[in-house]
């Protein structure tokens, strides 16, 4: 589209800018403020420079949370993206069943996140939950409130249940937009199904796959509610991921400084990685 240059367009953008700025800039300024100050109570603050950031780098607890978070995100991406793609490939492209499938698959995405946690909480209870009882009946000792491995297994299974559909829907939309002529040409060229996937479908899905990976990375890195309701971060700190750690510190104690420094670094990590993905995506589109 040939866009005309007109600075008066700022009036149209102003309401949005004001609301988002109010919500984003003011709090962020507060956070930055706290991160470079120290208090001994009574609302008196002293400049403390980068001391909180330095402490952050040395803090074992936070390092552990970061490690857990990275592991969690890696596992979740490794499962959800290929799984979602595979499911999308198996879905019919046209027909009466398509909307039924799509609606049912979209349901987990609309469940309030605490209900997701509760659902799986109930499911996984060792004696009275469907999942818990079944696994124990198979002879595997399973109790997610006591055993860290069981807790991780349950948390990951819950996230796969919750978010894989997002990948499925994105990939499905991408697949459906490939014109029939490509499949026809492949038939005429005598290509086998694997060749069709490798040379036609996968290249054409690059854009949606990038978006899926970006979104899943971002959202899994910020995960809070589902995990807090399911395991509370436990057993112990087995499932204490970054957001949980941060909220504990921010709302729990009076350590505003460290919490603020933590917030800034956290935000920066996500921003940086997302910016990388975003540029990659834009460059792909330009090609």
């Amino acid at each position: 589209m040939n866009k005309t240059f007109n600075n008066k367009a700022w009036w149209m953008v102003l309401p949005v800018f004001l609301v988002v700025a109010f919500n984003a800039l003011v709090p962020l300024m507060t956070v930055v403020n706290y991160s470079v100050q120290e208090t001994f109570g009574n609302n008196e603050f002293f400049w403390s420079g980068t001391i909180w950031f330095q402490q952050l780098l040395d803090n074992d607890q936070i390092r552990a949370s970061l490690g857990r978070q990275i592991a969690f995100t890696a596992v979740v991406l490794a499962i959800q993206v290929p799984l979602g793609l595979a499911i999308a490939l198996c879905m019919p492209r046209k027909g009466p069943w398509v909307s039924v499938c799509l609606v049912l698959m979209a349901l987990p995405l609309l469940v309030p996140w605490n209900v997701v946690g509760s659902m799986w909480n109930i499911m996984a209870l060792p004696d009275i939950g469907l999942l818990g009882k079944t696994i124990n009946a198979l002879g595997i000792h399973y109790n997610y409130t006591r055993d860290p491995v069981a807790a991780w297994f349950t948390v990951i299974l819950m996230d796969v249940w919750h978010w894989t559909s997002l990948v499925v829907l994105l990939c499905y939309a991408g697949l459906v937009s490939i014109p029939d002529a490509y499949y026809q040409a492949a038939k005429i060229d005598g290509a086998r199904p694997w060749a069709v996937f490798r040379y036609i479908q996968l290249p054409k899905l690059k854009h949606v796959l990038t978006i899926a990976i970006l979104l899943r990375f971002m959202d899994s890195f910020m995960i809070y509610t589902e995990v807090i309701v399911l395991t509370g971060g436990g057993p112990g700190s087995a499932t204490k991921f970054l957001s949980i750690d941060l909220v504990q510190k921010a709302l729990g104690g009076f350590d505003l400084g460290p919490a603020a420094a933590f917030s800034i670094v956290y935000f920066l990590i996500i921003l940086l990685t997302s910016w990388l993905f975003y540029t990659l995506m834009m460059r792909n589109e330009a090609n």
Binding site: A181, A185, Y199
Partner: protein
Amino acid sequence: MAKITIDNLRHSYLPEPKRDEDFALKRVHLDWADGGAYALLGPSGCGKTTLLNLISGLLHPTEGRILFDGRDVSNETPEHRNIAQVFQFPVIYDTMTVYDNLAFPLRNRKVDEAEIRKRVTAIAEMLELTATLSKRASGLTADGKQKISLGRGLVRSDVNVIMFDEPLTVIDPHLKWQLRSKLKELQHRIRRTMIYVTHDQTEALTFADQVVVMNNGEVVQTGTPIELFEKPKHIFVGHFIGSPGMNVMPCEVKGGKAFVNGHAVAADNAASSDGSSRLELGVRPEFVTFADKGLPVDVVKVSDIGRYRVVDTRLGGNSVKLIVPEGGAIPEGKAHLAFDKAHTQIYSDGWLVGEAR
């Protein structure tokens, strides 16, 4: 290469077609010889793409048969029919190089690499793609990509027929004629049966030896470009081919002579007409000239096309166009027209009188 026979083909996209309107193809019966260049010409929705997809095997016919060299292929997949198709927009494998794109159909058929190299280089040379062989296919322009699509059809030695579905749609106008000439040259050189579907008469008439004009799911006329131009069997052909199209005006036939608006006009087939049903007179603007006596008309408009001019005249309630070459005189106001008898025909209900349909 194969002789293609379309035997009483009817096709509908609906699961239970009942009336004629439910059929995209109402009845098609054609015979095409080996190695010829054919065009399917017609407006959008006339059924030509349907017919093409039936021939290539991408659709299964509702009724009728398709024969390659006498063999019934109606139930065979596109792979087994050994056809090649070039689509409206370039279909290439983006991640592969041009060489790999061309080699792809051969590799799928387990042809050995030395043979592949020979064929790919030969075809690339024919299509002037040799310089780009090691480049990624996605980097080529639209016409380059269409050449790759075409090339994938040509590399296979066992191809019975190559089909083109409006292949110049996305090509820049100034490259269209280049690609068109290339296709024609190729066709002459390798003598494979080629069927070219289009709604553009220029493309059809310049490419094909034989043109099949279709409208509304039926074949209206089959013939060489010259036959279609000089003796259109149906008013539709007269309208569709030629720019501007044929002049058509209502007429009467009395005693073996044709009359338009009460004036006598000499027509080629007036004698065969029995004067019944709706009669129309058709004559192309190329065969109308100004004369001292003849049909009285009012000159309304002159359009300058460059090498010639198109003059709009009115004969009573009818518009009659004629072509005047550069330098020719154009009277103003009132004038007289003469029609070339050999190219003036009477049509009854749209069809040429005196000819078998």
